[in-house]
């Protein structure tokens, strides 16, 4: 997790208006960011590995059959890209973060393009909790918050099941309390 806010502050705080925001981390004194589980790195890497293995096998067969050097170059290129991608996957997972404030949920992610989404609980339409086979193998789950706006992008992957169900229950409870809809 990059740039943690000062620990110990309660996550619930009034919506910040006064204090000047920092250049990279908004509202460091009122928002306590939570990182997602680092096991997500393995999930993402395995996903990548499956793709790469298929690609490499195809290229290797092509090279063996045709004997053209271009396949070898492509193989080397794929390996190089894999190495780069591995680094970004690790960093990208560390960059995921979410924070629960009194009235809204913050989600931030992305390395190259950084995104921060602020979703008020009152606007929540429904919550998705999903876990694919790979995620289940590492006992992780994804919580996604949907609003009426299609552009809302509030997905939190890599949560422990207990944390995922806690978040889901909290979100639905808060959403029911304050439901406003449109």
């Amino acid at each position: 997790m990059t740039g943690d806010g000062p620990a110990g502050l309660p996550p619930a705080a009034p919506p910040p208006t006064g204090p000047p925001p920092g250049p990279l981390e908004p509202w460091p004194e009122t928002v306590r960011w939570q990182a997602v589980s680092t096991d997500l790195i393995w999930v993402e890497l395995l996903r990548l590995a499956v793709l790469i293995v298929i690609l490499l096998a195809g290229l290797a067969v092509g090279w063996a059959v045709s004997g053209q050097g271009a396949f070898g170059v492509a193989l080397a290129g794929v390996l190089l890209l894999t190495a780069l991608r591995t680094v970004t996957v690790i960093r990208a997972v560390r960059a995921w973060g979410y924070a629960e404030r009194e009235d809204d949920l913050l989600v931030r992610h992305g390395l190259l393009v950084r995104r921060l989404t602020i979703v008020p609980y009152s606007r929540m339409q429904f919550v998705d909790v999903s876990a694919g086979p790979l995620e289940r193998a590492f006992s992780l789950a994804t919580v996604q918050l949907h609003t009426a706006a299609a552009a809302t992008d509030a997905r939190v992957p890599g949560l422990r099941p207990a944390e995922a169900s806690r978040l889901r229950d909290r979100l639905t409870a808060l959403g029911r309390d304050r439901a406003e809809g449109l």
């Binding site: 919506p15 910040p16 208006t17 000047p20 925001p21 920092g22 250049p23 990279l24 908004p26 509202w27 009235d103 809204d104 190259l112 393009v113 950084r114 995104r115 921060l116 989404t117 602020i118 979703v119 008020p120 009152s122 606007r123 339409q125 609003t147 009426a148 706006a149 299609a150 552009a151 809302t152 992008d153 509030a154 406003e180 809809g181 449109l182």
Partner: protein, 497 residues
Amino acid sequence: MSEPAARDPEETRPPVPQPHPGWYPPAAPPHPGGYPPTAPPHPDWYPPAGAPTPPVPPHGAERRQRLHPLSPALHGAKSLVVVIAGLSWSTLSRVGVGWFVVLAVVLALGATVLAVVSWYNTGYHVVDRELRVHEGLLWRRTRAIPLERLQAVEVVRPLLAQLTGLAELRLEVVGGGKTEAPLAYLSVADAAALRQRLLALAGPQPEAAVPAPDTSLVRPEAAPPGQPLHTVRNTDLLLSQLLTPQAFMIPFGVAFVATQFLSGDSWSFVAVASTLTAMAGVLLQPIRRVLDDWNFQLARAADTLRIRNGLLETRAQTVPLHRVQTVGATWPLLWRAKGWLRLRLEVAGYSTGEADGRNRPDQLLPVGRQPVAEAILAEVLPGVRLDDLPLTAPPPRARWLNPLGQPVLGAGLHERVFAVRSGLLTRQVVVVPYARIQSVRVVQGPVQRRLGLATVHADTAGGAGAAARDRAVTEAWALAAELTARAHQARRASRPR
């Protein structure tokens, strides 16, 4: 929307002797007319599954009604057009005119028979605060449309329907991928009455918000009911559509086809006809706009906007004012000499599902001068004026990303709305009331990070929302915080309604 999730009237009724096998009515034969003649409106239509729910008040239930008996004929005639388009020019050249006509008629007749079957099995009624639509012969479907989620109602009358005195009723509901439950077709009086009823049920105060009965649909040329706000002159509309890039392209397209036809022998009639058909789709958009927005009339009745337009296909659209998500103003380059602009409104129901934009009845003002636009905007969002929005440009370093457009970009926090401006040639201003903001996003791309800029998005349920592009990072965070806080306050303020 496919299952009646909410209320199950079965729970409150005395037990029915037959066991329910599932979705289908029990073995007892259907009622002779398909409709129970007495008070219990629909004994067997709903699956027994579902949580126990509060009893349905008896006054909310009513008999199921059919669509107008002429609807299958209209559907059949409509399918004739589709069939001809599907058979295409090449088929015509291959089989000859005689067979082509036979083929088209047979296919259209088949479609009509299907339409009759589907008409026989389709019914609707209002139960409590829901509109229920039953349809399907093999796959029976009951849709319960909660009216509190109704966003807009539209009465559409295509040319054929105008000739036969029918109308189609379309409801826009949040979360529907497309227009929910187009009731095609009803008689005009039924459509108007049903619209009135649905809007009254959907309104915040069901009793108070019943406006005077809407009689205008009987006379389509009459002004919409309520206080008229504006009528667009048809000459202005024509001229404005001539001042579009597509209109300038038409002569070139025609000249291209003509020269091909005259010079080369290789071009047969079919080739020319196909090319013309293909080009029509793109180039005739201005003409379609003219047809769609002909006789554009805007009126206000109580808390709703009434929009009526169309030449061949008339639409009468009713939008409750509190359902307006965003309002956008556009100044196309070629219109600037005339000082014209266009206003659009976004309602949550008109989703991006209908991609061609033609079926999105989002016009608030197809063409008009600034004072007219200001007057309309004042009705929709009181207190907001286009010419004194507090817009500020992003910092000068945003020029790296927008070499020419940097001074045009702008964003600002008005008392009631978030406003953004963009577009060098086609200038656009989008206005989002704080109470309609669904979520706020801050996005920073790699170049923006180097320059210390970020883009702030305010997402709304309908349309694309508003994006303040390339603000300084500190300002972007402050903007996001302020937007969240103001959206929260606006929701708080509007809750006790």
